[in-house]
Symmetry: C2
Subunit: 255 residues, 2 copies
């Protein structure tokens, strides 16, 4: 429809290519239109991070890996944007932990649920939950409360890449350990989560997979990592780093 | 299609409503899918500004009003997002100065050009340029170089709300005065423009209209405003303000 004419030399070639792919998946019904707006918000914050995994994010990713390994029923929540951006990365993480995968949509419809599940299965995912919800999360509106008893409802630790604030809060209230991947360090999701990973999903998830490999069988190391982690202090440090980047980008001297 | 169920009490009611309207206009062909992503980037930066017109933005808006009144051929450039977000505001500004209006799309197609022009005319715009390009801007790729001789090509001062970096640079190289409305103070557009208004379009444009009213017939005041304005210093000040907001949001003490 709106084909791009952007050369590989364009300074923003990678993000332009991803944008085009996301736009295509809107036409296919996997990504919601408002999912594109959410993607844009993420892009802006990623820009402020310098489009790289900052040390604070890496620390949170390691703690998230430890928490997933310590959990009895770890689960990865998948929405349209996550499926579009990082399907293979999610599958690799689910296998590495191992963890269940459940599709949970902000803009829920039977059709989109089916499309996102089909899309993930087309990428090789096995045992995706979510098509037949038989439980509800408390404290959020209708469609977004639906989940499966075997999956999200029973999970004790949930990785929520790109989750909205309402659902993140409901998960925390349900006493689950919530690991958020959210590029906005100020979002309600980031401020509510047990562990807030301020990183882009296609960078964050492979890092978590790597840490899962490193931490397998090392229970005492995992417990130490978890004990020593201070999510609020880590977020404040992210904020400082963003400010440094802003000052540098505007050519202002540090001070 | 994906109808929202969000109450007016939701903390982000206004932005959620705008998102839904933008998504509808994608289905109507006025807004490009990637325009939604651009809107999301803007949302993120607006969030960091506190979703209000900061003093630096107001200063830039006043200077932009002065420059439009001083210009021989002032013009307002319109793309799909601007048409979707602020059609009436743009028309009011074009009448107040008076300035020409020309549609210029990043994702240009004959169909979308027609749709955006029709949309603006449906809102009451008269004399919208752009349907029949007969000139080219130098230094940018094919479709995006097209413009009208009577409009953008001949303009000496151009207001570009939500412009991409390539075109902003091309306009500056063509020795035009470029007034950008861009929520990202670090974007190439903001850093290239003569005057960078870091504000949301539906707030920025009514402010410019108001300043146009105040500055009509006051040539010496206008010249003084223009002379005293330092765009780079103003942007640095915007950056500082964003950092203060980040620190406050994260509950960190100022320092």
């Amino acid at each position: 429809m709106h084909r791009m004419e952007v050369s590989e030399n364009h300074p923003r070639y990678r993000s332009l290519t991803i944008r085009e792919r996301m736009a295509e998946l809107v036409r296919d019904g996997v990504v919601a239109e408002t999912g594109l707006i959410a993607h844009g918000r993420g892009e802006a914050f990623d820009y402020l991070l310098g489009e790289r995994t900052i040390p604070e994010a890496e620390r949170a990713e390691k703690v998230a890996a430890a928490l997933m390994l310590e959990a009895i029923n770890p689960l990865i929540s998948i929405n349209g944007n996550v499926a579009a951006l990082a399907p293979l990365e999610i599958i690799a993480l689910a296998e590495a932990v191992p963890a269940l995968m459940e599709v949970n949509l902000f803009h829920r419809s039977e059709e989109r649920m089916r499309k996102v599940c089909d899309y993930m299965e087309g990428k090789g995912a096995i045992g995706i939950l979510g098509r037949s919800p038989d439980a509800r999360l408390e404290g959020i509106a209708s469609g977004r409360a639906l989940c499966t008893r075997r999956g999200l409802y029973s999970a004790d630790a949930v990785l929520v890449p790109l989750e909205d604030g309402d659902r993140a809060e409901a998960l925390v209230k349900a006493e689950k350990i919530v690991m958020a991947i959210d590029l906005n360090p100020l979002s309600r999701t980031s401020r509510t989560a047990t562990v807030s990973i301020v990183d882009e999903v296609t960078r964050a998830i492979p890092n978590i997979v790597r840490f899962v490999g490193e931490l397998k069988g090392r229970t005492s190391v995992r417990k130490e990592l978890i004990d020593q982690f201070d999510n609020r202090a880590n977020l404040i440090s992210v904020g400082r780093r963003i400010c440094e980047n802003i000052r540098e980008s505007l050519g202002e001297d540090k001070g």
